[in-house]
């Protein structure tokens, strides 16, 4: 990456300098070096001067940090007391207050497993089997925690809400879609016409339909088709819909990775006496997947944000709990604060993911 950047600059306008220029001069040249630059800089400064002071006043100076709702109603600034009061509800929603450690622990486990899976240092030591075993065990614990077992009364999935729902739907969506996507990608490149046709049909149909429509089908149409009484849980239906939806996109990403592998690798694998599946598992897929890791991370970030669409089927993810928190008559109408909190939560996750993706890209380019 660094090589590329230098190359680019060398090929550009600036001649190489023997002495490093002072920082302030670089800044001045960058901001006011030419007339258009100066105009743009002034424009941006003007925008900032216009936007920042009111924002600061609202978020900090005039804000109310604690106290009852009445104090907020009098103030001109943000009501962070509302966030203090509603943070628990926004994060964990309808889950029982006295058993709140359960969704908190589930959240921690999900986040921890995601971080562990993202560490390249662990990739070399894990076989696919261990991977599957680790995630199955982790998810089993998460589901057990959320359902309220093994002791205590069961908690129906209607009451699972807030951030654990987002993270559960997103991580299980990615993990569940992965094997399916690999098979779809392989099938799409298969020499067998029937298999290829099936894969192409599935991928194109799933990609041709918006996620909302898939969720509607899963929640509204599916129960009408099934005999009454055999209802599958709504959250599970949404989860399966998300897995199928994501698998189509992931399959295309993986196919791109497969196409990037030169045929020489196939031939070399065959020369070593490996059959189709062994060659795929040991030679082709490891390289193909490594090529497309940034794209996969990108998809995961998008999916995390898309999980909020479960609003339309009446599940309470963190954005929906935030919105509903402002509907409590005792704390009526603090939508700005609620959405600000939700935005911060999303921002934290997405910035972390995007930094991770950059770091990984740099590392892989170094041959890590």
């Amino acid at each position: 990456m660094t090589d590329h950047a230098t190359d680019h600059r060398l090929g550009g306008l600036a001649p190489p300098r023997s002495t490093p220029e002072p920082r302030w001069r670089a800044l001045r040249d960058g901001l006011f070096g030419s007339k258009p630059n100066a105009v743009l800089t002034l424009l941006c400064l003007g925008l900032l001067a216009w936007a920042v002071p009111p924002l600061l006043r609202w978020t900090l100076l005039d804000a109310v940090w604690s106290g009852p709702a009445d104090r907020c109603a009098e103030a001109a600034g943000a009501c962070w007391a509302f966030v203090g009061e509603k943070l628990r509800y926004i994060l964990f929603g309808f889950y029982d207050v006295d058993r709140q450690w359960r969704p908190a622990a589930a959240l921690a486990i999900l986040a921890g497993m995601t971080v562990l899976s993202a560490l390249p240092a662990l990739w070399r030591r894990t076989t696919p089997l261990r991977w599957v075993a680790g995630w199955s065990a982790g998810l089993a614990v998460v589901v057990l925690l959320l359902t309220g077992g093994p002791d205590g009364p069961a908690v129906p999935t209607e009451r699972w809400s807030g951030l654990p729902v987002n993270l559960l739907l997103a991580t299980v969506g990615m993990i569940g879609a992965f094997p399916l996507a690999v098979l779809l990608a392989l099938a799409r490149r298969s020499p067998l016409g029937g298999v290829r046709l099936l894969a192409v049909t599935f991928i194109e149909v799933m990609r041709g339909v918006p996620l909302i429509a898939v969720l509607y089908v899963a929640t509204l149409l599916l129960p009408l088709m099934l005999p009454s009484g055999s209802a599958i849980d709504k959250l599970l239906r949404a989860q399966i819909a998300i897995i199928l939806f994501v698998s189509a996109y992931l399959a295309e990403i993986i196919r791109a990775g497969l196409q990037a592998i030169p045929p020489g690798q196939h031939e070399a694998a065959r020369a070593l006496g490996l059959g189709y599946w062994a060659a795929m598992r040991l030679v082709i897929l490891p390289q193909a997947l490594r090529t497309v890791i940034p794209a996969i991370v990108n998809l995961a970030v998008g999916l995390f944000q898309d999980t909020t669409l479960v609003i339309v089927i009446g599940l309470f993810d963190v954005l929906n709990t935030a919105r509903n928190a402002a509907k409590d008559p005792a704390w009526l109408g603090f939508y700005d604060e609620a959405f600000a909190l939700a935005a911060v939560i999303y921002l934290i996750f997405c910035v972390l993911a995007s930094r991770y993706s950059l770091w990984l890209e740099a590392r892989l380019r170094r041959g890590g």
Binding site: E85, K86, R88, Y89, F92, G93, F94, Y95, D96, V97, P156, E158, R159, S161, Y216, T219, L220, L221, P223, L224, S228, G229, A231, K234, P262, G264, Q265, A268, L272, G273, L274, A278, L282, V283, P286, Q287, I311, V312, I313, G314, F316, N320, T321, R323, N324, A325, A326, K327, D328, P329, A330, W331, L332, G333, Y335
Partner: protein
């Protein structure tokens, strides 16, 4: 080219070793799996070969004879309990689940979660009253949130047992869509909220106005009818979410906000300067909000009917959460029947005769539910209006409990 050579070298080094090792392992594993499979299948076969076992039963972990016996006992017990009484599919599902599933919306005062994540509100209390009627426990109810467009399909598909989300009772919904409606729990009507500076005194002056309206509600249809009847034009701004609709109006995206008057009352208090807005006098529609259930379960319908009626009747009697115990010694035969002191009503319905007593004791009568969540002393600040008992000039009228 250079890269390819590099990669092949790496692959050869790391994977060559693995390749030499793995094929053998695959064969071994396959062999082992075959053996265990064989063992399992023989194990599964032997117990189910007894002639009494129905072949459709899925194989279970333990000795299947014990499970069969338990199953038979369960079925017998179930039959004995239900007896000859014809129970509908909905009430059966509710009892099997151990909780009523109630579809709710989200509107301050009517249904909104409190800081502990507990649903609170006017309609929510009726859901709790139903749970008392079925299970004698106000907590055996699950509230399922539903948006205006999906609430009716969700009810249709069995997502919940009853929709208590402020649905307007209409002819089409009762006939074509196939829903039964319980008694009206809230008489609402669609109103028009406008800024005072528009200088509009009545709805007919609104020619060419932009109107913010919520999708999937009868409000969308009513406003179209209203403008068509008066032969004036309007531009609709259609928004799904109540709160966003109100934001759009507050920010001046439309001249008129139309919703049920109950919503508009809340909206007005939430606007930056409430006094700059005026609620026009017309009610352009009748909006009787009633609980909706699917066709096909008369028993469930009757429970819904009489639970709502009981809260109305209690207010007419003057029975409240606080004084209900003092009425237990009342000499009035109708009150004695109502509270189950005289158990004849309970016997007639094969229900716990104390059900109405428990409902009033737990959630209160209609007036108390109203005052607690949406009355003048709350943030919502609604007057009783039509929602007063018929004895006080309102429309609430419960049939006699006898």
């Amino acid at each position: 080219m250079i890269r390819d050579i590099g990669r092949l070298r790496i692959t050869g080094r790391t994977n060559g070793r693995a390749a030499a090792r793995h094929p053998r392992r695959i064969v071994m594993r396959g062999f082992k799996n075959n053996k265990t499979l064989l063992r399992e299948s023989t194990m599964r076969h032997s117990p189910s070969s007894s002639p009494s076992t129905p072949p459709a039963r899925p194989p279970s972990k333990g000795p299947s004879a014990r499970w069969l016996l338990a199953g038979a006992l369960g079925v017998a017990l179930g039959l004995a309990l239900t007896g000859a009484a014809k129970a509908g599919p909905t009430i059966d599902a509710i009892k099997a689940r151990g909780a009523i599933k109630v579809g709710v919306g989200s509107q301050p005062g009517f249904f909104a979660p409190d800081s502990n994540g507990r649903w609170q509100g006017f309609f929510v209390d009726f859901g709790r009253a139903l749970a008392i009627a079925v299970f004698n426990d106000p907590e055996k109810v699950q509230f399922v949130s539903s948006s205006p467009q999906q609430r009716l399909p969700s009810l249709q598909s069995g997502e919940f047992d009853i929709l208590l989300s402020g649905v307007t009772q209409t002819f089409t919904r009762a006939t074509k869509l196939g829903f039964h409606f319980g008694p009206v729990v809230f008489y609402d009507g669609q109103g028009l909220l406008v800024p005072k500076k528009l200088g509009v005194a009545k709805g007919k002056d609104l020619n060419g106005a932009t109107v913010c309206v919520q999708t999937g509600t009868t409000g969308e249809l009513n406003i179209t009818d209203f403008f068509r009847q008066n032969r004036i034009s309007f531009k609709p701004v259609v928004i799904e979410e109540t709160a966003e609709n109100q934001k759009a109006f507050a920010s001046g995206r439309c001249d008129v906000l139309t919703q049920d008057a109950s919503d508009l009352a809340i909206t007005r208090t939430q606007l930056p300067k409430p006094d700059d807005y005026v609620l026009l006098p017309e009610r352009i529609s009748k909006e009787p909000l009633a609980p909706a259930i699917r066709y096909g379960d008369d028993q469930w319908l009757e429970i819904v009917n009489w639970v709502v009626n009981a809260t109305i009747q209690a207010e007419e009697f003057g029975i409240t959460q606080a004084n209900v115990d003092s009425f237990l010694t009342s000499g009035d035969p109708s009150i004695r029947r109502f509270l189950g002191v005289d158990p004849s009503l309970g016997e007639a319905a094969k229900l716990d005769p104390k059900i109405f007593y428990t409902i009033i004791k737990t959630v209160g009568n209609y007036g108390e539910i109203f005052e607690r969540h949406v009355g003048p002393k709350t943030k919502v600040g609604l007057e009783r209006g039509y929602n007063a008992p018929w004895t006080q000039g309102g429309l609430l009228y419960a049939p006699p409990f006898r």
